[in-house]
Amino acid sequence: MDTETEQLSEDIIVCTDLHKWFGSFHVLRGITTSVKRGEKVVILGPSGSGKSTFIRTLNRLEEHQRGTIVVDGIELSNDVRNVDAIRSEVGMVFQQFNLFPHLTVMQNITLAPQKVRKWPRAQAEEVANELLTRVGIPEQAGKYPSELSGGQQQRVAIARALAMQPRIMLFDEPTSALDPEMINEVLDVMRELAHSGMTMLIVSHEIGFAREVADRIMMFDEGIIVEEGTAEEFFTNPKHDRAKEFLSKILS
């Protein structure tokens, strides 16, 4: 019990004064925050507020130009070894799924464990089968991504990220490209993952899901975190005017 609380209190991601420009556009304007091991953080905010860019800097899909990011004790720098080390500890799920269309579902999931973790094929496939069962589509292993529905593709994408046994999962609007009837099958998988204790950062517009799962809500606007707090605080008693305005828009 003691070790668990100790783990929970440990910061797994620490960002200090993070800045990022796209050309002359100042997209992240000084983000300082930290995420604890096992914490579920849902990131809200209007489009263009920098929320996606923020989580993409955490595994260096975007390079930050100022400030520091430390993930699981490793600082993100230009050192390729650090970047590769962090990427194999941080899983990511994309809005557009980004499955590899020329590989089967099984190959999509087993590629990285075999090449990066150097697992033998049999072990990778065993893990893949377990994960496919966990996300509810064990029978689709031999199919190609284009033969699956959007919801199934996104669940494969989650399984693919989990196959690397990451310590942190980043979700970049995982349900925004899905038809309404498929959103829940993906959210169910994410819910189950949250209960298993995974550290999760989720950019999402699913308010109900955020309320239910999030330990903390972060609201981004114009490149800064305008409000941060528990889901309860954030939805019932937002302090900042921009947060109130945003909530009134999405809840109406």
Binding site: N59, R60, L61, V80, D84, A85, R87, S88, V90, G91, M92, F94, Q96, N98, L99, F100, P101, H102, L111, A112, K115, V116, Y144, P145, S146, E147, A157, R160, A161, M164, L170
Partner: protein, 416 residues
Amino acid sequence: MSANPETTLSTALPPPILDRGLLGWAHANLFSSRFNAALSILSAALLGAVAWFSLRWVIQDSDWTLIATLSGRLIIGPYNTEQACPGQDCFWRPQVSLLMVTTLLGMAWVAAGGGLTKRIAIGVTAVLAAFSLLPNGLEEMGMDVRLLLVANIPALALGWALARYTPLGTVRWIAILAVCTFAATLLLLGGREGVPGLQPVSVIHWGGLMLNLLLAVAGIALSFPIGIALALGRRSDLPVVKLLCVVFIEVFRGVPLITLLFMSQVLVPLAFPEDFPLNSLYRAAIVITLFSAAYMAENIRGGLQALHRGQTEAAQSLGLPNWQITLFITLPQAIRNVIPAIVGQFIALFKDTTLVYIIGMQDIVTYSRAFIQGNPEFIPSALELFIFLGLVFWIFTYSMSYISRQIEQNLGVGRR
């Protein structure tokens, strides 16, 4: 429940009569409007006239004996003439090379598990064996030549058995053996001083379809990987590598192949010592390969650019290093997307091998033209000969495009 009882969920109605069957097809494709109907009738009349006159010429007026007369000469050119191979019969050397090729085809048949490869293997072997039934050509076609042609059938069977009953039946082994076969063919055709029966034959006597195929196979096999390397180099972050690749591609794309071939024969010997080991055949092969590789690079670069950025990002997020992302994610998809352009380049390369006439080599077209010029009594048959040559090239290029479509289908290009 339904307001309109005829359209309940369970009744699927057949389409209107005009959309079905032959009548529907003709209506949709030939007579969909007055203008289209007029065009259809006009085209049919034109086609009919062309077919009538062509057929009449083929049946009544044409004389195809020249092709039978030339027969083997079209395939090997002047290779086994007295001048090329004095005092010896050299015909068996290209024939033995062919036997190696059919053996490989037999192995590929097993490795591919039948299908298209099986049909190609059987088809090629059957055609080769059928050549043994041809009447005599310019010279007596000896029993040895005929037997070696028929031997392609047991060679195919041998390859099949080798792949079926030994560990050699894998794609990797077949690829290795294919490279060995190509090298062995070059050694066999070139011969070696002092080895009995393997009198050296200078490359200027290599000719006919054999020369076209040697250049095309080498060019295709080498320009593909070189083109990939150039395409990747052109997208490299290293400025020097990028610059070198851009310069190479633009120079080789910007200069006509004939000019490059000519320069390779005239300028390279000036720049290198006289005993520089590259003979004219190798120089031609290198020029054709590099020329084709420059186009190949641009095709593949196009395929890489068409890929969605999310593919790379997903692979990066899994921790794959850059070279593995290229090898397993981007390159396979890029190549699949540009298979038609790649095969188009292969076809162009095959046809461009006829340009070696500029450096005095006697490929199938040059040899035929030279033969007619040297034997004026055959001038009336020139038309038939060149129609036949066109047909030969068409068979090869159409096979290439047919194979590429089968590959696309097997890979599910366009569907996934």
